[in-house]
């Protein structure tokens, strides 16, 4: 079920209302049932795959606590490999067989191509990683195994974050299913406000920009350099608003029910370096890779060359996590390369800025760093959005050519849509800026109720009137 659908507009109030009417004993059952309905709205049969993952890790968690020490590691690996096997079959089978056949062809060994027609279960990578996080934490003794299957299944399937995160850690979420969540007006209204902001990002900003981006990236050779550049900048905002909008709605929906999910974004485009960007972007995934891959590989407490390799492995796999396509792998490796270049050139850059009279913390230097980080990130997003490496290469090489100011619109995106698109980005930026500086909720809280309601209702009407309702899936659902 999409958050931006009429079905969800009915589903959510019903689920919430009944949740608060039930006793604690039945609440978790209710949430599990609601989550199943939510997931089955996509492709019902795929819930069985989810159940397989749940059962593997549920029993793995219990036996990790029971078995003798020497069997724990093999059991952990068995659990990890079985869970990943599901992910591999559904997400990567075609990619790896195709790549293998392609590679064999380079050596003159021509193998037939077998493409299995498998539809990727929605959000598979998210709940796989959430499940893996549970068994790893149980293995490390940082989390007790959950013996109640309903509670564990609800932890994996909790509908607000089921299909696109945030990827929760058991320490944060699991215990909350055993707690009593009082109906709290402040919690509910704050959650709804957060959802409204998420809908603004998704419907008003992301989905409108998507009209332009989809046109251009579906056939980049039909568009001018200026259109390619606009589409690439639009995509940077589209993917941010699409994904962080989803996270806002997920966190807000959970908050309405009294649950607290981890933050997933902290205004990433305000980052002054690529390293900082990754501390602000998709935080739940970045920390997952950091804790379960980068640090076990040795992190930065190894030789410089090994550190570089660790970074590239982490980012390469992070790219592959996003999608079974070389564009994602190269996107990940490019970000890894940015980071490596960043720390290798840090001293040189500091000396350069000092020499031109721009020491750290000056506004001008910060502006240059911010603009550089945004540009590098946007450049990398081209790989993320392009359908193939060929398309990405075309976009990279044609961004600066043929800037025809008379050809801006596309088939779906008429000229009259530009002011709305640009204005929505401005509102987004102003909203984020004001929230950082003057704390909008504090000011709103001080207003009398009629004024507050007028402003809230006005904001909702802006979302309603300027939103795009083509039921576009959230980009990260495909991962």
């Amino acid at each position: 079920m999409l958050f931006n659908s009429l079905e969800f507009a009915i589903f959510f109030p019903v689920v919430t209302g009944i949740f608060f009417l039930l006793s604690q004993r039945w609440r978790v059952h209710w949430l599990l049932m609601a989550s199943c309905i939510f997931y089955m709205a996509f492709i019902p049969a795929y819930i069985l795959i989810l159940f397989v993952t749940i059962l593997i890790d549920y029993f793995a968690g219990i036996y990790l606590e029971r078995v003798r020490q020497e069997y724990r590691k093999p059991l952990l690996w068995m659990s990890i490999l079985s869970t990943c096997a599901v992910l591999f079959i559904f997400k990567y089978f075609n990619f790896f067989t195709d790549s293998f056949v392609g590679l064999a062809g380079l050596f003159g060994w021509h193998l037939p191509r077998h493409v299995a027609s498998i539809i990727l279960p929605i959000g598979l990578s998210f709940h796989t990683f959430q499940s893996l996080s549970y068994v790893i934490e149980v293995y490390h003794g940082k989390q007790k195994a959950e013996h109640n299957l309903v509670v564990y299944a609800t932890y994996v399937m909790f509908f607000p974050q089921l299909v696109a995160g945030p990827i929760e850690r058991p320490q944060n979420l699991l215990h909350q299913f055993r707690e009593w969540h009082e109906f709290n007006y402040t919690n509910v209204t704050d959650g709804l406000k957060r959802m409204a902001w998420g809908f603004f990002k998704k419907l008003v900003v992301a989905d409108r920009l998507a009209l332009y981006v989809n046109d251009v990236y579906s056939a980049p050779r039909n568009y001018t350099g200026l259109q390619l550049t606009i589409a690439s900048v639009f995509f940077a905002y589209q993917i941010y608003c699409d994904f962080s909008g989803y996270s806002d709605i997920a966190i807000g929906a959970a908050q309405v029910l009294g649950f607290r999910l981890i933050e997933n974004f902290k205004t990433p485009y305000y980052a002054l370096s690529i390293s900082e960007f990754w501390q602000r972007w998709h935080i739940s995934l970045s920390t997952w890779f950091k804790d379960y891959l980068y640090i076990p590989l040795g992190g930065n407490r190894v030789s410089r060359s090994r550190h570089i390799i660790n970074l590239l492995i982490t980012f390469g796999l992070s790219g592959l996590w996003h999608g079974a396509n070389w564009t994602y792998v190269v996107w990940g490796l490019l970000n890894g390369t940015y980071l490596v270049t960043g720390f290798l050139t840090k001293q040189w850059r500091d000396r350069f800025f000092a020499a031109i009279g721009l020491p750290e913390r000056t506004a001008m230097r910060r502006a240059i760093m911010l603009a550089t980080t945004f540009t590098l990130t946007t450049f990398a997003w081209i790989l993320f959005r392009a359908r193939s490496m060929g398309d990405a290469a075309y976009v990279f090489t044609h961004l600066a050519s043929n800037w025809d100011l008379h050809r801006l619109a596309t088939e779906q995106f008429y000229m009259r849509q530009f002011p709305v698109a640009v204005l929505s980005i401005l509102v987004l930026e102003i909203g984020q800026r004001l929230d950082k500086t003057i704390r909008i909720p504090s000011i709103m809280g001080a207003l009398p109720m009629p004024a507050r309601w007028t402003l809230y209702a006005g904001f909702v009407m802006v979302v309603v009137m300027f939103g795009v309702y083509q039921q576009m899936q959230f980009i990260y659902f495909q991962f």
């Binding site: 608060f20 007006y185 402040t186 209204t189 779906q412 009259r416 001080a446 309601w453 939103g467």
Partner: protein, 350 residues
Amino acid sequence: MKWGTEQISVAKAREPVLDPLTAVRRLAGFFALLVALAFVTNVVIAHGLKQIRTSSFGAWNQVMQGKVNADVIITGSSRATYHYDPRVIQGGTGHTTFNLGRVGSQTDVQVAVLKAYLEHNKKPQLIVHNLDAFSLVTTSKVYEPAQYVPYLDDPELYQSMRQIDPEVIKSRYIPLYGYVVEDMNFTWILGVKALFGYSPKQNYFQGFFPRDKEWTDEFEKFKAGNPRGMSFAVEPEGIEALQELIQLCQRGGIRLIFVYSPEYSEMQSLTINRAEIFTRLRELAVANEVPLLDYSAWKYNGDREYFYNSQHLNAAGAALFSDDVAKRLKTYLASQSTTSEASPQQAESK
């Protein structure tokens, strides 16, 4: 924008904890306010759109408000809208004329529009129905549906539109749905502006929209994408729609004439099943004694001076065509007998 931990503490400090019943009442009150706001906005937009006197909205408003009452009515798709200048036809025939063509429409929608016209206006003497290669195709999605939304409270129009697209029920009963969900053109802004006296540019003249455009590269793109040409569906429901139009005229005692208006010649040869389509159209015309004027062999069909793409004449082409069709209609209106089929060449020979 975050409403996380710190905001909750701010909010908690702001007001005392509400008991659940008061809290639910307050939430229900706010949502009731939103729903009321949506209804009011919907009414305001519809009211504004109905005020417009210019553009396609102005033409449509004239129809729905019963202000047309013409002797001759042109129906059809965009090819009707762009090809027939009622001012020329009116001058040539001496009969008041109005162009009821709807851009992006198929026969089923054209019939719905004609029914709405007949309900609100006096019966015309003659209906000139423009035919296309896609005349026997049914509508999968109503084009620019927001234009119809202000008038969905009209039972005749609503029922006709609902038969074509059952989803229209949402536009009828969910406030703002037809303006924001189904429409990507911000039509609602036109409605709001109209309330303050701002009207769109006047580009429709008695329902006719002259296209002051030169030949574009659309046809070249089409050819590149369809080097072997393309077929248009012949759907039983499409044939039924055309029969319904015929019966509507027969029941009302309105004379009907089919016109296949000019089409760029190269496109004609790219329409793979053109012969099949014409066979069906002729069969319908002959069986129901409806004259068919076929402009497939019009002498300007190969001249890009008069077209802006393969399907549409530009303003210059429309002027030539309207003048020609006016002469034929004058003869036809004057005559008592009808010819089952006549080409412009045949008419000229007469």
